[in-house]
Subunit: 500 residues, 4 copies
């Protein structure tokens, strides 16, 4: 989904040429699986609006480590600060102090490629006839390219490569009618996944796409209203979870009231078709999605995996940190003891200097170490939540064997990952996905495991909760079954990398 677009604003990051591939694969900002692109947080009517947004972004940092931004308003002016880096790096006390006012929205963004330019950092602040508008967006539009082309034909110009700007243009086209109406108009034209926050001098608005693919929840903190990608952000700021924003719903917070309208007809009659990867990998274990705890769901996936793919073994281990939940579930269900077999170094910096051609192997060892005493002579079940290119898996299996594991049985707590995401997840080049064009046996052989099993789609869904069916999720990355048709060439659409 690389930007094959015209005239991209692209500066290759000054990459450390010595950074071994394996390390890139283990870099601190790296998240082994596919990567979610953003987290959003907003608060209305709080004297510490920017401060609390800062804390909320801290809690959502796992959703994006590339850039962070906050826009606040005191009802008169909009105050903005965005920069590349972690929340802890982008903000300091003086900056937070300058972000005045009682309302604010914030954004953390992830990006894997050259498009990591500051200009694309969010929230986006645009000014048009009806005043200022700040927008924070998690998701991706599948028809952004088409819309952008039309807008350009109508004379629009773009100063960023994120599709958030496309939405801003569409809103401006109808702004005369009032902001809410203009947003509804815009939503009528865009297709895709989005959790959106809008901030004006006097309103905070939250919108979720008609399928409910990306998560967005509403919370309350004393007299303040809060919107966030994940409920863990509510816990961090001390807010109470109220409810999820519904598919196609627009929540308008203004003055003392919260109004809700169905901005676009819901396409998810039962419940949101939430991205199933939020359960598998993206969300924090302490987040509740649709009332279900993420850690609990992951653990249940591990249990289900044990039922579907039992194996005679001595010990179950998980890849830290994200697969520990599933591994403990597998252990409990199978009765095979869970053990801490891999230790993660918590101090890995952003870059790493490789002494030699052994870099890749050393990179893995620098990040993770295998516990010989735990593994020696053992038949090991290695639980991982997903496999992307297979390279890391191969190194892990090798690491375990070198530590003395007699057998290594890989168990993946999600189905084979085979299709690109069009809804805001950077899946890299799908051609490189290990599960594309390979049989299970070939994958097993490639990673070097004694056996390899993936959790079934049905099993995964069952694990998430009772009362849900596969149709209640977006699982296109496993099945290619996208909630709505993907326009011809959408993969190439993204002028940038298709996400924001």
């Amino acid at each position: 989904m690389d930007g094959a677009g015209r005239g991209r604003n692209r500066v290759e990051p000054a990459q450390d040429p010595t950074l071994p591939l394996a390390l890139a694969h283990f870099a601190p900002s790296y998240r082994k699986g596919p990567v979610d692109e953003c987290g959003v947080f907003g608060i209305y009517n709080n004297t510490s609006a920017a401060h609390l947004t800062y804390l909320g972004l801290y809690a959502l940092q796992h959703r994006g480590q590339e850039s962070a931004g906050i826009i606040a308003t005191d009802g008169q002016e909009m105050y903005s600060h965005r920069n590349m880096g972690l929340v802890s790096e982008v903000f300091d006390e003086a900056v937070i102090g300058d972000l005045k006012g009682r309302s604010a929205i914030g954004h953390v963004r992830y990006s894997t490629t050259g498009s990591s330019v500051l200009g694309n950092a969010q929230p986006l602040l645009v000014q048009s006839r009806r005043g200022s508008l700040a927008i924070a967006h998690n998701g991706n539009l599948v028809n952004a390219h088409e819309l952008r082309e039309r807008l350009e034909q109508e004379g629009a110009i773009f100063t960023t490569t994120v599709d958030t700007e496309v939405m801003a243009h569409l809103i401006a086209r109808h702004r005369k009618a009032g902001l809410e109406e203009a947003i509804v108009h815009m939503l009528g034209e865009v297709r895709g996944a989005y959790a959106l926050l809008f901030l004006t001098e006097d309103k905070l608005i939250g919108v979720r796409d008609p399928h409910g693919i990306r998560p967005l929840s509403l919370g309350k903190l004393n007299g303040s209203w809060v919107l966030a990608s994940e409920s863990c952000a509510f816990d961090t700021v001390g807010a109470d979870y109220v409810r999820d924003v519904a598919p196609g719903e627009m929540v308008v917070i203004s003055g003392d009231t919260v109004r809700s309208t169905q901005a676009v007809p819901s396409q998810a009659p039962q419940q949101p078709r939430l991205c199933v990867f939020e359960y598998i990998y993206f969300s924090r274990p302490d987040t509740d999605l649709q009332g279900r705890n993420v850690h609990a769901s992951r653990k249940e996936m591990g249990r289900q995996l044990a039922r579907e793919a039992p194996v005679a073994a001595d010990v179950v281990i998980g890849v830290p940190d994200s697969s520990i939940s599933a591994a403990t579930g597998y252990a409990e269900e199978s009765g095979i003891p869970y053990e801490m077999g891999l230790i993660k170094n918590r101090y890995i910096g952003r870059t790493f200097i490789s002494p030699d051609q052994e870099g890749r192997r050393r990179g893995v060892r620098l990040k993770l170490n295998a516990l010989k005493k735990v593994l020696e002579g053992k038949r090991v079940v290695l639980v991982d939540d997903s496999v992307v290119r297979g390279t890391t898996s191969r190194h892990l299996v090798n690491l375990l064997r070198e530590a003395g594991a007699r057998e290594v049985h890989m168990r993946i707590s999600s189905p084979p990952y085979r299709f690109g995401c069009h809804y805001g997840i950077d899946t890299g080049d799908t051609a490189q996905l290990v599960a594309v064009g390979r049989s299970m046996e070939q994958i097993r052989d490639l990673v070097g495991a004694d056996s390899l099993y993936y959790l079934s789609l049905e099993g995964m869904v069952k694990a998430i909760g009772t009362g849900v069916a596969t149709g209640d999720f977006c699982h296109a990355c496993f099945t290619g079954d996208y909630p709505e048709p993907i326009p011809e060439g959408a993969g190439k659409f993204a002028f940038e990398k298709g996400g924001s």
Copy 2:
């Protein structure tokens, strides 16, 4: 001309609260007089395009120290890097290396207020139907507010507060007709001062406003064409000066050719109505403007000043660095010896820690020291090129007296500065100008000098060169005689601070 506009994207810079006023007045990025807002540089068809642009910006650094940026193209893609800071801070070798291609434009920007946000750094890179377009702008539009309002009514959105974006919108409105035609269209709508560089994947275009208020010159470096705000940049990159771009002229460099068209009818039939402050203060002494050397003109202003305002004295001194030329001219004409009476500390950093309430006085002493041996018991002529608020002058006169000067006669090599600039110069609050609402005697009294004289407008013009009349310059800051009517409320126009 402060932005009273709606919804400004404003973050107060984290100012050092201890920075004494006097020091702010002497800060390194401070330029005592009114400040020019930008310098531009462009090169076409050179294998070291970004490198040479970097060198060119180095030479133009005096025109703006707030932010710097370069956009380069290899004919396929546009590569951009912009950041806050000096050229030497913004670019390093890796960054320059990433700015690939054979053409590039660059920009240095100055700003004194809270609008010093990265989002306003230039060149601006916009994308529209017909491809990418990078724009670097020195100047200011007087009808930007009006245009912006119209564009917003038509549905345009703005992501920066610089009027460059207004121009980008106007171009996009007519892009179908071809870029050059679209630029001509845009120029037909904007009014004000501008030296503009445009870069596309295959063209470099330079345009100068119909009055020729801001400078722009064309040079040649072997097979490459170069455009720059000042000729000193040509010397630095080793290019030869070819000629000034004429008022209203558009120079289109493409392939092997340079084509020239009169994009807007010239409003300066004789010669450009160049901003007279370029001669007085802004331009580097080694720059030639309209074929006249800046240092030579300044020296002649000093001579003329000596003719207009002679005084019996023992020594002539100038305020370093910008007034040295005029001071030597005064000395030569008057026969009074020129002396180095004030020594400037070359190592002043951006901030300064004041130990106590004496900060202001110490700030002056930290930056400048008076040479007692030169001044003791002497009647001193102190030549300065301009006086803004008068505070610095008062401190300087005091410094000289403490060093033993018996008499201090201030001689200013330009007329009293009384009117705001609408053409790209930040004049601050005109109400604070010392010459507004004060008689000469009151000003003299305020700065504490024994006598005070300003150079006459006619004398100044005469000094600049033969064959020129006052009508051949923009001298509105002295006379209020703007080249064209300023729209009602233009002072409030600038959504930002009116410049870019």
Copy 3:
């Protein structure tokens, strides 16, 4: 053990005044319990000596996050680089490249107070008559003050406040006799805990104190010899563990040989009296100490704790990361399910901006979040490896209760911590230790738990391994039973903070 000494070289760190206490308590470089002061790594005869030392320090980063340093030699010159910060911050490729040669030693250092000055960073490089000598030291001398006083009387001067310099002086006093003899002489005079690495142009020497309080191991990497504080560093560089350096042993690596001598008579006839806190908290779980895996020992401590202090409960949780091992042991032994009840935010930066007086509570929530779904209505066993001041414990108990825990039973997998360490651990002010002067009931009340139990000393030792007795460890922090008499006033000795 705060430095009450004369004329300390003390600069208060520029602390963020907004950093709430609770956060300081949860700061990223913070390690909840007492803190180990250093890790050392050395390698001899390897073409990537500095690179591998860098990797080794990465693996030992948990032992000290304040400063890092490497000194390398090519047999002719010594090349040194030290700075404040994490390994990933202190070194980049250029720096590593400048650290030429085939041998190197490195050091990571922790410090909690104002003495965090660069001058104290290690390794120390001294030059004397017989050439250069680099020293890296983990530990603390109990008679440093006395020795320093004597040396000063003899005319010695000190440029740092670390007792490593005392050792350097003592060595220099006898250097004529040869380096090894001089080291032996020095060892005859110092008393305390130390793991020492020495590097000269042609030798790498490792020494361990006669009690074997601080750990030091020998490894082999192809033709190179390696010395490190913990065996996990061997895994990271791909070396094989050979053996622990014995109490009082000096290992001299030179040319092709490794020679071993008993530099000082061992005071630990059976086995090293290793600091028991290395098992409880300091060492990485994947490190093997004296042939016993640290994780396994901790898990066994949890089992033993379950035997000693069983409780009727629904779930066992541990404080991440260091107490997870013990918590799983407790769960396995008790049959109560282990659960992930606390989630740690992995992205906490070094500073944190508190919005208000709620800072302390928010600080805890920012760092750790409780899993409501896991805890609601449950009787919870909270396992922690140690309690220092009790503040964090109180916040944790409160966090669990707010998340719905019906009962909270604290179980500490080590005995009450009551005595200051004189062997290189920063214990802060012993008067602030929660276990000093309080009954168990008072502590329980203070932390707000329903019940509270500490593991017994005997239980702890039993958990570490068969064949060991309490006399086989230094457990003075629990018992006050120091391996050797502490000189009167040693607590005040440390000119600096007693460690290096």
Copy 4:
């Protein structure tokens, strides 16, 4: 004088490989001629001691741009801060605030080579039996090597490579007798040039070498006493110059009193044999040395040069900034008009990226530009204060010719520079000095000038002042006539680079 010593603590700085030689020659921290190594400042009994020391170092920044440091005392403790960089970079308000107390000393240091290590930054803080002692040193000992060897034989160790540490050891050897006595003892053993400041908890002491080679002056600021390398620092802090410290004098400031003793017999019966390069180049123009203003002396050197080496020419120009004084003197005496023929770019950063092999030529042009309008067709006298390797001169002559100069006559306002300095000036490799082994004609040919003359030694001394003879200065760099015999091999002595 490069360190050929054993075991140097040497880390090559991460140099920009693209930095062209010519640029290194024009780098911002570069000072064209030989470089002075240090500036010192001290203040006693002032509530803003650290703040004022900071300002004083600002004024002395031209004497050293590599590192800066301040040590302050509140009578109980010593507070220290040192780092690499300019004064404005090393200190911020928080740091200054931490440097508590009413007395302080500061130091700025220059170094050109790899020995630019932080460990060598000053002031040095040592602790010995009698308490803390901070030392700031400008100068160089000629017998440091010999002393260091002796000290090492006696068991001393060294943690830096500056000879200040040698002095610290010698003082410690006799500290029992009291600090002043110990200093006198030390002074009896060292030979060379030094301006020394010592700070203890209750005293500030200043000492100057028996020849008075390096400058040191005493000033008064209300109730506070001030010591500084140059009087310009007094002006900056608002202090009054009292007198120079005499050769061999020790000034002890303590309580309310200033006591003076002849610590070592003066070797300069008439007046200090001050380094003549302080007049030529090192000191700031606004400094008074021995009651003579530096600018005035330089101007007189220019006059004398005009008398000794007149030439028929149209214009006199100087190399900015240091040669402007001499150039105006030459112009006044010769009657040939002085002109600003070279313009210096004030914004050159520390590094510079060269686009290509043309780097050297571009480097010169980036830093300096020639004013064509001033030079075209003219016979030019180019006045420079000294010539080191001749490379810059060649580039300058070429620059002038390219700007149209018809003839270029170089006039150097000092004698040919042929001998290395042993007194604290980094002269680089004397073999590279253009005047070594070349006739005047050969030098002229090498730099490409039409004529070339150096000022005579007698003429130079005459210019400095009446009543002085050549014997009243150290002019060894011109004559090889060192104030005292230089030990065999002193050039190689310096373990570091011979200076501090």
